[in-house]
């Protein structure tokens, strides 16, 4: 990963084999309140992300904090992406099982039902 600042915009170059477009979009979605975000896929398995502050220029101290924040967030979103992909099937199974019989709540139990006191709901 390479970071650079140009005209107060942060430029980040990353390898797609490490951080997919999905991961980058999900991560930088949360930056769109403060920054105008541009993600551009380039040749050679690289992607360029440009973050330009919307409201105020960044100080040099804030440059460092921003880079650290991005590094942490990218790793976190990469972990989330792994979890999402690895658990896609089990999540679908879970939801399918949860609602598999949702139309059967009013069905009567199978067989003859009797009550010792002779109560007949019919």
């Amino acid at each position: 990963m390479e970071f650079a600042f140009s005209e107060d915009c942060l430029l980040l170059k990353a390898q797609l084999s490490i951080y997919s477009v999905d991961v980058l979009h999900k991560c930088f979605y949360w930056y769109t309140a403060e920054f105008a975000v541009d993600i551009e896929v380039q040749a050679d398995d690289m992607v360029l992300v440009r973050l330009c502050p919307k409201n105020k220029d960044l100080t040099s101290d804030e440059h460092g904090a921003l880079v650290n924040r991005i590094k942490t967030d990218l790793i976190d979103f990469k972990a989330r992406d792994i979890i999402t992909k690895e658990t896609r099937n089990i999540r679908d199974l879970l939801v399918a099982k949860a609602f598999a019989h949702s139309d059967q709540f009013d069905s009567k139990p199978a067989g003859n039902v009797s009550d010792p006191l002779g109560y007949d709901p019919e």
Binding site: Y29, I75, F77, R80, I83, I90, K97, F99
Partner: protein, 517 residues
């Protein structure tokens, strides 16, 4: 004589009373399957893991990454917790998948009932001028803005078409008591019809209590009507937020709260507050006033970005930062009050804690996914129009009928509740499918609000990074987890809030995110 066990260790073939070493029961160390979970930083040292069914595990920061990278070993203390609480599994499909599915279904059990909260806007007439009012209001003598008997009849007919076994009928306004005769008519008719329909009906009257009388309270007592009122805090604060001209609104409401408590009982009267800019300065004083008035809980509610409230400075994200500071101060104070032996609950925290600490669905429409609009709540306006939520009605008062579902006189139940408008809303009413929400750790405890998204962002999908609703909920939930992680005593207190028999601030009321009365 010995032979090799599964792990290569030597095992005596002679029968022995000794247990085999733990290594004999291990298969491959560090191999496990991930189950669906999400994670969020709580403090610099702590993060929380939350699985698909809402179980959580507070652990050291970086634990989620270790799990994903297969760095957690069988011998780690956390391994057993991860297995038993469904974060990882030693099999591709865990043996208890059916249990997980049942628990997931339980969390969504509110869907079984469909629309259970039916709000009747009896009139737009009002005798207060609350600075944060979200609705249009008209003068006290404008009876053209009362709900007609015909609209009441048709609204009640629609209500009973809901499959829900539990129906909450909530009368709102304006000030609904200004149309007291209409309320009486509606309550008596619903009670009569319910002898056929046999639902569990709860009546809630949202009133500022300014014209409440003993006769009205006797009626409420006869039909089990619960009172919900607004109390913003001490006299100077309440009167500033909710001017009543002429007269002293605070003294009137204080006397009438007492009267309601005497005639109906303490459990049948509850109050809400709305946090104006002025209120932000007095978190402890507001709590003290609620305790002094005999309430056992308070709902600390921010201004909402609808209607007249939108015109005041209160509505912006700077306000939200201040509100969060106010909220945390008040919550910490409430915890201290409890430690001194006074049972007192913050209701919004209690609702979230119920979702965190119990396996049950919670009928609070603002924190449901799929959204509470239509699924849990519907509004019958005084003019017969039907809206997806109270906020939808407020948009209509500004000329935006996006969320108007139909009219009681001209539209059938199927069209109103399942028609094109409802189907359109349903496309974006589950936070499991919303950008920003779908991978948020707090998804099981939060909700989707397409109406709010539309009102604040111009589309029903919304934009989480600039969403006040998102910001508020993330920070409050994170703060609750922080408090739990820092103190066992606080955790036990929170569990007592959700496990005891305390009634919520608005018994029978499942949404508090609409105009005070």
């Amino acid at each position: 004589m010995t032979h090799c066990g599964p792990s290569g260790s030597e095992v005596s073939s002679i029968r022995s009373r000794k247990f085999r070493p733990i290594n004999d029961f291990q298969t491959d160390i560090n191999f496990y399957h991930l189950l669906p979970f999400r994670f969020h930083k709580i403090t610099d040292q702590t993060e929380v893991l939350i699985n698909e069914i809402g179980d959580f595990l507070l652990c050291d920061i970086g634990t989620a990454r270790r799990i994903v990278n297969r760095e957690v070993s069988y011998s780690d203390r956390i391994y057993a917790d991860l297995i038993s609480q469904f974060f990882i599994s030693e099999k591709p499909i865990p043996d208890l998948i059916d249990l997980m599915a049942t628990r997931y279904r339980t969390k969504k059990a509110f869907l079984d009932e469909f629309t259970s909260l039916h709000i009747f806007v009896m009139t737009l007439r009002c005798n207060h001028k609350c600075r944060y009012c979200q609705v249009s209001r008209v003068a006290e003598n404008c009876s053209d803005f009362d709900m007609s008997l015909s609209n009441i009849d048709k609204s009640v007919e629609l209500m009973f078409m809901s499959p829900s076994k539990n129906l909450t009928v909530e009368f709102q306004g304006g000030e609904p008591l200004l149309a007291y005769d209409k309320i009486k008519y509606a309550v008596e008719m619903i009670t009569r019809l319910n002898e056929i329909h046999k639902r569990r009906v709860t009546f809630v009257l949202c009133t500022n209590l300014s014209i409440m009388s003993e006769d009205m309270l006797d009626f409420c007592k006869k039909f089990g009507v619960i009172i919900s009122t607004s109390l913003d805090g001490p006299e100077y604060l309440h009167n500033s937020n909710r001017p009543m001209l002429p007269g002293n609104g605070f003294r009137l409401i204080k006397d009438n709260i007492r009267l309601c408590q005497e005639i109906l009982g303490g459990d049948s009267v509850s109050a809400l507050m709305t946090t104006s800019e002025l209120s932000l300065k007095y978190p402890r004083e507001i709590v003290d006033e609620y305790i002094a008035q005999g309430f056992t809980s308070v709902f600390l509610r921010p201004i909402n970005p609808y209607g007249l409230a939108k015109k005041h400075r209160d509505y912006d994200l700077d306000y939200l930062e201040q509100f969060l500071s106010f909220y945390k101060t008040a919550l910490l104070y409430i915890i201290e009050v409890n430690k001194q032996g006074i049972t007192f609950i913050e209701d919004y925290a209690s609702i979230i804690l119920s979702k965190m600490l119990t396996p049950f669905a919670i009928g609070f429409t603002d924190l449901q996914s799929p959204s509470g609009v239509i699924n849990s709540v519907v509004v019958y306006n005084y003019d017969g129009a039907v809206y997806a939520s109270d906020e939808s009605r407020m948009l209509a008062e500004e000329g935006d009928y996006t969320f108007r579902l139909g009219h009681v006189s001209s539209d059938e139940y199927q069209h109103i509740f399942y028609g094109p408008k409802a189907q359109w809303i349903s496309q974006h009413w589950a936070n499991e499918a919303l950008p920003g929400c779908s991978e948020c750790a707090f998804l099981p405890f939060c909700g989707a609000d397409p109406v709010r998204n539309y009102a604040t962002h111009g589309d029903i999908v919304g934009h989480r990074p600039t969403s006040g609703f998102c910001k508020k909920n993330i920070e409050i939930i994170r703060f609750l987890f922080q408090l739990i992680s820092e103190s066992n005593e606080t955790e036990m207190l929170f569990r007592s809030w959700v496990n005891n028999t305390h009634s919520p601030a608005q018994p029978g009321r499942v949404s508090l995110d609409f105009p005070p009365c």
